[in-house]
């Protein structure tokens, strides 16, 4: 057997190896999937991208891989390189020579994949290694148009870029499953609510509304706005979709605004109950009122000497009853709208016909607002509990600073009842708060639509992440870095939490005022904000 290579063979090999020289040239090493799993994609991008090209947390990228287009949202961006260890801290200087060896590693969360037929589904497969990655553009988001609802609130946002062609719209049919609007001060809660209300007014005018929206506004900002900031009455074209009630004489003198009145017979002891901290005997006395007095005249009766006697006769101490009466008098003193006539029937009728009902109570105290909200919402729930009428629309009750009434241990079981049971009767809550951490976790888990607009407090974010129906935990950095007017919308009918920029109300107003009444917003697809 021949062991050694002979001369001829060696020469052949030498020639072959010389001809076999391999040349490695510059190639596209970035923007390709390099790892890592079905639940987390990694790709690399140049470390020195221009300002326009910089990758941002929250940005959505697409990965085209044969018949599928995967979508992934950026969770984090890290400095990285092909060098090991702390090479960049051990060396001096800042002049990088090998730009292909130093890069940023982008960590992205898969959102799902779009098939050739345009259908979207959660992805159970991994994109092929080195599949190309690109910033998702309008075409990749087209499928979202199909899953958006009818209440337009903004446009899709990819990082800080706006995808104007893709409107973000909530579903009317999800509103009885409650909605939460969470943001710290100045992030655009009021603007969001006005845009939301404007879309509801528009739907009401078009006869497409599926629920009535109740807004109780203690700050007097929704009715007429303030200076350059417009109010709901400025939406002339769809003004018919709005019913206004005000405790302010001046506002109530405007045509189309009715002076708010609540009949004393519509106030219940439990409405008083939520305004104060009560001792056990005082609470007993409150509970006994409905038994001892006529339910329609108890307010009047208990204030008289005969009322006091009846309570004492029933075993309550005089002092206890006196505290009760004093507090009731205070409530009546502060809430001058408690009269003989009542607006509640009208309010209810407007809500049931699918209108936006604005109850304007400027300069009213926190307690008075709560009291009024309690009276109205109890009335609504009682009426909705009655047998359903054919034409009746659902109802969404807005609560500002919702932590006051939905907090763990709060004595406001009415709102808790709506949160827990309202859905059965077509009544939903729209809870607005800066501090979701103070809202009862179980109640929060009943909220199927969340509008998150920037929360700096880690505990607030954690509370939402733990209670949300969709997984928001990976969006922690993005929620922290949201800017004014930006939001994450999480709702069950849209397959993943959607980054959005809420329309600026004044821009939206001008567009709505100009549009043809029958023109469908969503089918038309977004709008470009007017230039000032």
């Amino acid at each position: 057997m021949k062991v050694a290579m002979d001369q001829e063979e060696s020469q052949t090999r030498a020639r072959a190896s010389l001809a076999d020289r391999k040349v490695i040239e510059k190639g596209d090493t970035t923007y390709r999937i390099v790892s890592k799993s079905v639940t987390e994609y990694h790709f690399i991008v140049p470390f020195d991208l221009s300002d326009e090209e910089r990758v941002e947390v929250g940005q959505i990228f697409s990965i085209r891989d044969r018949g599928l287009t995967f979508l992934a949202r950026v969770l984090d961006i890290q400095h990285s390189s092909n060098y090991d260890g702390h090479w960049d801290t051990a060396m001096k200087g800042t002049q990088f020579f090998d730009r292909d060896q130093i890069f940023n590693r982008v960590i992205a969360e898969p959102l799902g994949c779009v098939s050739k037929d345009g259908g979207f589904r959660k992805s159970r497969v991994l994109p092929t290694k080195f599949a190309p990655v690109a910033r998702a553009e309008q075409a990749e988001f087209k499928f979202l148009k199909q899953v958006m609802g009818d209440i337009e609130i903004g446009s899709l946002r990819n990082g800080s870029r706006l995808v104007e062609e893709i409107p973000v719209a909530l579903h009317s049919n999800a509103m009885d499953h409650h909605m939460g609007v969470f943001a710290t001060t100045g992030m655009g809660k009021s603007n969001f609510m006005k845009v939301f209300a404007a879309s509801c007014m528009r739907l009401a005018c078009m006869g497409r509304s599926r629920f009535g929206l109740l807004i109780v506004d203690p700050h007097g900002e929704y009715l007429k706005g303030n200076g350059l900031v417009k109010g709901l009455t400025h939406l002339k074209r769809y003004r018919e979709g709005l019913a206004c009630y005000s405790t302010d004489q001046k506002n109530a003198s405007d045509p189309g605004v009715e002076e708010l009145a609540v009949s004393a017979s519509e106030v219940r002891p439990e409405d008083i109950a939520l305004l104060y901290e009560w001792s056990p005997p005082q609470r007993d006395a409150l509970d006994a009122i409905s038994r001892i007095f006529n339910s329609n005249h108890w307010l009047e009766e208990i204030q008289g000497t005969e009322g006091l006697d009846r309570m004492v006769l029933d075993g309550f101490k005089e002092n206890t009853v006196k505290v009760l009466v004093r507090r009731i008098k205070n409530v009546l003193e502060r809430n001058k709208y408690i009269q003989k006539r009542s607006s509640l029937a009208n309010i209810l009728a407007n809500l049931q016909s699918g209108k936006v009902v604005l109850v304007d109570i400027p300069r009213m105290s926190d307690r008075s607002e709560l009291f009024l909200l309690s009276v109205i919402s109890r009335h609504i729930l009682e009426e909705y509990k009655k047998e359903e009428q054919q034409e009746r629309k659902n109802c969404l009750i807005t609560i500002e600073e919702a932590q006051r009434v939905l907090g763990a241990g709060s004595n406001t079981s009415r709102f808790e009842t709506i949160a827990r049971e309202g859905r059965k009767f077509g009544v939903g809550l729209c809870a607005i708060t800066q501090q979701p951490k103070l809202i009862d976790k179980q109640l929060l888990s009943q909220f199927n639509t969340l509008v998150v607009m920037g929360l700096g407090d880690r505990n607030d974010r954690m509370q939402l992440e733990e209670s949300a129906k969709q997984d928001l935990s990976s969006l922690d950095i993005e929620i922290q870095t949201l800017e004014k007017g930006e939001a994450i919308i999480s709702t069950l009918d849209i397959p993943f939490p959607v980054p959005a920029r809420i329309h600026r109300y004044e821009d939206y107003l001008r567009r709505l005022d100009k549009e043809e009444k029958e023109e469908g917003l969503v089918s038309r697809g977004g709008f470009k904000p007017f230039l000032e």
Partner: protein, 339 residues
């Protein structure tokens, strides 16, 4: 038994001699003085820099022959931009004194026009080292063929090479000179010694001396007429000690063929302009890239070893047979998995 007093004596020796307290003795014994440190003014240029390197990893051995994986090639830069890396050899090499001439000669003949090499007395380790060096010279020659006048070609190592291969290097020198290409060998670990009582590290001490005599600037020092054995006369060229960047603590041995003697300053100025990368400050960046692109990692060696074992198994050899044939008994003693 370890004699602590002997260890202590060595420690004293290091303290007294290797750590250089004063430059007087260094200057007196080496002939180096302050004026010998010539400041380099880095100057960018339009040409390309070629950096040649090689790598060699042992795959397996059966006492009388070794199997190695060898790779050689070069990286090409224009300014700070990497252009390409060319791999001129990437194959296994069977280190067997009986057949090695047949493996060397075709390359020597076809590329350098040289005949015959006698390596029968060389040990197996050296054989693969020589072959890797030969492949590096072939890469140097290939780079010379690609280069244009004014370009720089760097070699990772020294030009004071093993005698049988000196002829190959001379051919490369001639071709480079003819093409007006500057050829430099840069050594990361030089063994140049100085001193009369004990061998002291010349490059390190010169680096230290340079940091005192020419602080904060790049410089070079020519070893011509200095009292240091740097292989004068064994090859056609001159040796320099160079610090390429004033912020770096390291200086390197640089060999240059004699045809560069009168313009070494301008050549080093060009090289210094591209030895300031953050990735590897003070070292010619092209060589840094060549090292990273051409090196064979332990994983590659391990993978090839596994492939070989698989083939042997397919050919009917059992693991015990392979072990008997190839296992290094040191691996048994050290309880290492080995082959």
């Amino acid at each position: 038994m370890l004699d602590k007093s002997r260890l202590s004596a060595v420690a004293e020796l290091i303290r007294d001699h290797i750590s250089l307290d004063s430059l007087d003795r260094y200057c007196a014994e080496t002939g180096v003085c302050r004026q010998d440190f010539v400041v380099i003014d880095p100057s960018e240029f339009e040409g390309e820099i070629f950096a040649v390197d090689g790598s060699n990893v042992a795959v397996c051995s059966w006492s009388v022959a070794n199997l190695n994986l060898i790779r050689a090639g070069y990286a090409v830069y224009r300014g700070r931009d990497w252009r390409r890396t060319v791999i001129t050899y990437d194959d296994i090499f069977l280190a067997d004194p009986r057949i090695c001439a047949e493996q060397f000669d075709p390359y020597l003949e076809q590329i350098f026009g040289l005949k015959g090499i006698d390596l029968k007395e060389s040990d197996l380790e050296r054989l693969s080292t020589y072959f890797r060096e030969l492949q590096e010279y072939i890469a140097l020659d290939d780079a010379t063929g690609e280069a244009r006048p004014g370009d720089l070609i760097l070699y990772d190592g020294s030009f004071d090479v093993f005698e049988p291969l000196r002829g190959a290097l001379l051919t490369v020198f001639e071709r480079a000179k003819e093409k007006d290409v500057a050829l430099l060998a840069i050594s990361k670990s030089s063994t140049l010694p100085w001193g009369e009582e004990i061998s002291l590290p010349f490059v390190q001490h010169t680096s230290y001396a340079g940091s005192l005599m020419a602080p904060g600037v790049p410089w070079y020092l020519c070893l011509k007429d200095k009292k240091v054995d740097h292989g004068q006369g064994r090859w056609e060229g001159e040796t320099y000690i160079v610090r390429f960047d004033g912020r770096s603590d390291h200086a390197f041995r640089v060999d240059a063929p004699s045809y560069l003697e009168d313009r070494i300053g301008s050549v080093l100025e060009r090289l210094a302009a591209y030895s300031c990368s953050s990735e590897c400050l003070g070292y010619p960046h092209a060589l840094f890239r060549a090292h990273r692109d051409i090196r064979i990692t332990d994983q590659e060696g391990g993978f090839l070893r596994l492939k070989l074992m698989e083939m042997l198994e397919e050919m009917g050899l059992g693991q015990s047979q392979v072990r008997i044939l190839m296992q290094d008994f040191h691996d048994v003693l050290e309880m290492r998995p080995g082959i």
